[in-house]
């Protein structure tokens, strides 16, 4: 489905993945997180209009919601969300001077969809 080209002009801002680098220094967490310094978390943003649901890695549910929104605007639009996430490892230190390596699920957005 990803190989199917999105029709041009049908949506100005289709749902897709955007780059977002989370720098732990910006959060003040560099004081206790040893590594990584940050990571590419990414995020999903964009529209999921009915005309595009076939192209945008959409769930059947998103298709139905977009269809209902087209019929009845009170029904919210389908939303652009992560459809595939991956974990990261973090090395940090607690107040007891213990060094900890921990793996956290669902930290990086790999794919987006409607």
């Amino acid at each position: 489905r990803a190989a199917i080209p999105v029709p041009k002009g049908s949506c100005r801002n289709p749902c897709h993945r955007h780059q977002l680098f989370i720098n732990f220094r910006d959060l003040g967490w560099h004081k206790w997180i040893i590594a990584p310094k940050g990571f590419m978390a990414n995020y999903c943003h964009g529209d999921c209009p009915f005309s595009m649901t076939t192209y945008l890695n959409s769930s059947n549910y998103a298709f139905m919601q977009a269809l209902m929104h087209a019929v009845d605007p009170k029904v919210p639009k389908a939303v652009c969300i992560p459809t595939k996430l991956s974990p990261i490892s973090m090395l940090y230190q607690d107040n007891d001077e213990t060094v900890i390596l921990r793996h956290y699920e669902d930290m990086v957005v790999d794919e987006c969809g409607c």
Partner: protein, 234 residues
């Protein structure tokens, strides 16, 4: 302008990391080699797009998603010259397990005793390492800890390199009842020529051990919420 996350939001996320508040360590500890190796291997695999099971620690051969390297908070009991029987040092080892309170299964507890750097020039006499559960009030009382139940007795050709001891059962026992964690009693003997008394080589070995001995406890736990068993996986 960049805003700071509200304390409330930060607290929520730190809870997700199993932290009550953001740690504020006075200084960074050196990252242990084993943790650095695992971290780097995972980063390299992620960069290469290789799918990984984050609930299995390939390098240690155990399941787990959280690895802690606890520093030894004990102290030397005897730093005098070696006795006639070659007894080099007695050390009380203590590991604060209070941080290990999250829901999880202990899958590994490995004590590492680093006897010093490996070197061809430092080959000393054979050393005997005796590890026991400590008895007595230990750090909490006035009297000094004594050796209790023997856990391991190992002879090594010289005081160099790391020695590993599986302490999973002991740590499980301590976790079941925190009052049981009275620490460990370590004794190291250097086996010199007993007929000529304490010789120079033994003294030299003991001095080196006193300076370079490091102990740490690697604890691996598996949180079933984050690591469902394979049968529960989709």
């Amino acid at each position: 302008a960049w805003g700071q996350p509200s304390k409330f939001q930060e607290y929520d996320f730190l809870q997700f990391l199993d932290l009550e508040k953001a740690p504020s360590p006075r200084r960074f500890q050196p990252v242990p080699r084993i943790l650095r190796k695992i971290f780097q291997a995972r980063e390299a695999a992620a960069a290469g797009g290789v799918s990984q099971d984050f609930c299995y620690v390939k390098e240690l051969g155990v399941r787990g998603n959280l690895l802690r390297l606890l520093p030894d908070q004990g102290f030397f009991l005897n730093t005098q010259n070696p006795s006639r029987d070659g007894s080099c040092l007695q050390k009380y080892l203590y590991f604060n397990l209070s941080a290990i309170k999250e829901k999880g299964t202990l899958t590994m507890a490995r004590l590492t005793l680093d006897l010093g750097p490996r070197s061809y020039y430092n080959l000393g006499p054979e050393v005997e390492v005796a590890l026991s559960v400590a008895e007595g009030p230990g750090v909490w009382g006035r009297s000094l800890p004594k050796p209790g139940r023997r856990l391991a007795l190992q002879s090594v050709p010289g005081p160099q390199g790391p020695l590993h001891f599986n302490l999973q059962d002991v740590v499980k026992d301590w976790n079941g009842n925190r009052l049981k964690n009275l620490g460990l009693y370590l004794e190291i003997l250097a086996k010199g020529d007993r007929h000529s008394g304490v010789n120079f080589q033994v003294e030299n070995t003991c001095d080196r051990l006193l300076r370079s001995l490091r102990a740490s406890l690697l604890v691996v736990t598996l949180n079933p919420d984050h690591c469902p068993s394979s049968s529960r996986k989709r």
